[in-house]
Subunit: 372 residues, 2 copies
Amino acid sequence: MRDNPLLDLPTPCLLLDLDILKRNLARMAAAVARHPGVALRPHMKTAKCWQAAELAAPGRGPITVSTLAEARHFADHGFRDQVYAVGIAPAKLDAVAALNAAGASVKVITDDAEVADAIAAHPGDIPTLIEVDVGEGRGGIPADSAMLEQAAARLGPKLAGLLSHSGHSYAGRSAAAMAELAEAERAALAGAAARLRQAGHAVGIVSAGASPTAAHAARLDGITEMRAGVYMLGDLFQAGIGTHGIEDVAVTVLASVIGRYPARGAVLLDAGALALSKDRSTEAGPRDWGFGRVLDLEGRPLPGEAMVTRVHQEHGEVRAAPGATLPLDRLAVGTRLRVAPNHVCLTAAAHPRYHVLEGGRVVAVWERVNHW
Amino acid sequence: MRDNPLLDLPTPCLLLDLDILKRNLARMAAAVARHPGVALRPHMKTAKCWQAAELAAPGRGPITVSTLAEARHFADHGFRDQVYAVGIAPAKLDAVAALNAAGASVKVITDDAEVADAIAAHPGDIPTLIEVDVGEGRGGIPADSAMLEQAAARLGPKLAGLLSHSGHSYAGRSAAAMAELAEAERAALAGAAARLRQAGHAVGIVSAGASPTAAHAARLDGITEMRAGVYMLGDLFQAGIGTHGIEDVAVTVLASVIGRYPARGAVLLDAGALALSKDRSTEAGPRDWGFGRVLDLEGRPLPGEAMVTRVHQEHGEVRAAPGATLPLDRLAVGTRLRVAPNHVCLTAAAHPRYHVLEGGRVVAVWERVNHW
């Protein structure tokens, strides 16, 4: 190993800065701790790795997952209390029941009457949250709809609570805007829970959230838990909307320069569409970083506000911002750089594992549970 | 197993129709066979699987790869003659030399003088093609530049030939336009090869191509081989520019309906940004299919010109084209559908393996060599 261990890793690969991860976790834990009685149920869809879950949910506390593969992985590592927060398809009920028969408590979600019937009729243990739409317009029964009571009645004793997702809070551009959306979600979801309880249904879990609302909610009475995931790792989109800074992005892609083109002021990296993803989230944000912002090996932004302007499958073209210039003399072929992702959920999913850094050293390799 | 084996696979997953793959391979083989003396060197970056390579390069003939992981995988399966067609970083030379010392013949590419020096100085067997830019503006030395001769001189006996990529041919919108680009590439690359030979350099391989130009080139004299990859599997973008039809798309994503929303005329699938990728290639094509065109279980387009209009990490929202309606009565939660990809290279890379169909039955499972 040379002085800098990042010179010996194969490129492209995924780096995870443990110091930043821990700082992000502490900040969110403190934000949710402002609300006594409200639990944080971190969403592992972003990190997808049990070592990160150990830090995010100390004592193997409650977590959220987005696939059966995650549910199995985390159950295998002792995380019993899970919410599988993607509408369940009936063909997946057997797998959930098998995990629960083996000791887990994986809760599913649905907003569909026929699925509620299938769950009620299933012989297994399948605690179920009804998904409530609080304005995102993705999944869920509207909070004021009588279909909520109907679904609760169909589920019977398998009803475990209600769940909403404030994905539209990512459109917020200030702490105040996010707090406002958090309050709208809280009022709608807590109101729906109160209505169901008045009708005689047991509503144990009232689960809300997304990273922006979990960080900025002013009050959460009536809510039992907040779910959030992307806050752990951070990305350029989150930095753009102000939920954290560029220095809080814990995941970067390590890449090598494979071509240098002074005539057009560009270099090519060996990190392209597959290593970075084609996510263009920052296009809709206050600052467009193309397919990622380019940093030096120490994680400092490269001069010229360098970004990945174009990707092919295994090529990423780096250019300076308009009017600026790249330091091409420092970018010989073979030079190693880091790319901060637009949307870390997508970029991280392109890689099988993290090379975990602490104080600039690679201290561990953590495998991700990708796929389904 | 029920009557239809697609009802028993976990969703989302990747399907590969072997009949369509074989038809696509036969068509391209015939197109290149029009040019005596020109070999087809199929690019395995799309299929990334040795079973597909066995069909695409009969007798374990020459192939193209895009990563060291592919180079190792295919060498392990007996494919000796490879071109690794992404500019080489010096740190990867040892790995290439090791493969070649073990019996492979992996050729690398570069357009950089310092890398040419590093290759020349390396003790291993590293046959090298100089990358030539024929108009794409990605990598390569311009065909008319004296830097070509300089790079050839630096490589010395390790010079194995020249390589160009006509990626800009995907902007073609007719067979005539693609033939014109193919001729421009041919003339530039063959001219550069002739010039180097006159200067005393041995130029064995003159490698050109991309799927559109390989299919439509009128003449290829001076070219020794054509590279093409996406033709094997096909996608909506390729269908849009007329290199094949929708019935020639060999890869689809099998997905389940997880929510049904009559009020907004939509359903949700369990295939979202991770299972489909966020590639939006068709946005620039003649017909925008969002994040994919939705087909029924038999592979027929769903009524209403259904497409995936919006994706979240594990959710894909399906709507009809403007003015049309989805057959919502046929789309109960649990219903299985297939999604034809915008860009198959990206969508396939999201999955670890293919479920291979022949005559509607699952006849095999083929593992992909993803990552680096």
